[in-house]
Symmetry: C2
Subunit: 235 residues, 2 copies
């Protein structure tokens, strides 16, 4: 993907299934679970695909990884989640954009990225204890340690939330890193070539206008960055 001369996206499994085997640029396919986990833990939003009446829908949603499954949540009234809960096939994709790859020819332009594609069917988590634990993991995936800094959900809020789990057994990663790869005869062109790094960065927190004075910005907000390891911050 992401390039004039590439198209597909790759899978990982143990081993990869036929339908998750990276088709385009197979050298970019990465099949180890550690790579997949690291991408899922750094990503903030997945794009969840499902098909209704032969029409695919792709909607962004937050998530968390819990071991060998992806947790997704939303309103119990959500069309998306009600559809996915019914056991239909879904695809959840997480993409991290790492940079623009600027080559000497238009054709060899590309991007540096890390992505994971997960195929499967989701299962609703109904047990109250497991559901609450999943909700906690999702909040803490978005920002480490946040759950313990805020009011926990009421029974009504728990009921109003639907949580689904998607197993990671049919998942694959695809990664591109490094400088552009130009045609041999293009290396003497006078074009600047290289990589422009990109990342999703946090900026100065904006306090709620209704926040009373004297409440400091907690360190997990002040020093926020994606890819932050659990336990580095909080308090």
């Amino acid at each position: 993907m992401m390039a004039s001369n590439t198209g597909g996206q790759a899978p990982v499994g143990n081993p990869p299934s036929e339908r998750t085997t990276v088709k385009r640029m197979p050298h970019r396919g990465v099949y180890d679970r550690e790579t997949i986990n690291a991408i899922l833990d750094e990503g903030l939003v997945c794009h969840l695909g499902f098909t209704l009446d032969a029409q695919p829908f792709v909607l962004p949603t937050i998530y968390a990884r819990d071991g060998d499954q992806l947790l997704i949540h939303g309103s119990a009234a959500s069309r998306m989640l009600r559809s996915v809960r019914s056991g239909i096939a879904v695809c959840a994709t997480v993409t991290l954009i790492d940079g623009l790859v600027l080559a000497r020819s238009a054709y060899h332009h590309s991007m540096n990225y890390r992505s994971v594609v997960i195929l499967g069917t989701a299962i609703e988590i109904c047990d109250r204890t497991r559901k609450l634990a999943a909700m906690r993991m999702i909040v803490n995936h978005v920002i480490t340690g946040r759950w313990d800094q805020v009011r926990a959900p009421s029974d009504g809020e728990i009921r109003a939330t639907m949580v689904l789990a998607l197993p990671l057994n049919e998942a694959s990663a695809k990664v591109r890193t490094g400088p552009p790869i130009d045609d041999e005869e293009d290396y003497n062109l006078p074009s600047w070539a290289g990589v422009l790094p990109l990342s999703l960065d946090a900026h100065a927190p904006v306090a709620d206008p209704q926040l009373p004075g004297g409440i400091p910005v907690p360190s997990n907000v002040r020093f926020y960055r994606r890819g932050m390891l659990p336990g580095i911050v909080a308090k």
Copy 2:
């Protein structure tokens, strides 16, 4: 989406079709073309959904907006593009993440974001002149003015590329902005609350190790940012 208490994603049309009407959080649905265009022009990557043998796939890919259509490209050998070219229903989704919305309760956490969902079927662009123009728009969408700084594609490279156009007539946007909305009784809790802004930012360019000395970093690389208007930079 993106919140403990929301789920769906919204459509825009003129007027919105039944299947693109924002279901969850309808007040977040935005239906004017200018909003849709601005989101598409700022986004770098779309997530393209298509269904094969009842299995949805969601793959990230770069794109450009050309008036009332989205241009997508890739290898002529790509499984994704060959599938989409066959006229099957697709969904292309672009999501911009603007910030974490940190409420006083876990339940009211959310994200500020802008997203566009496009439903439709894509048409291949075969005419050489139109195809080359589309390839130019895609490169310049990723980085303004880049096309004229690099070697144009050869005939073979043009043939090896497939370009598809997806009409925007069934598109919708969904936008959340502003501070958290907490339950009235939670405003006196001692939790810090507010928004942590996030954006996809560029960092110092990394020259290709094989770049000869004396080639300066062009201004469209040096001052790169998303949402940059065409014509601001280049040269």
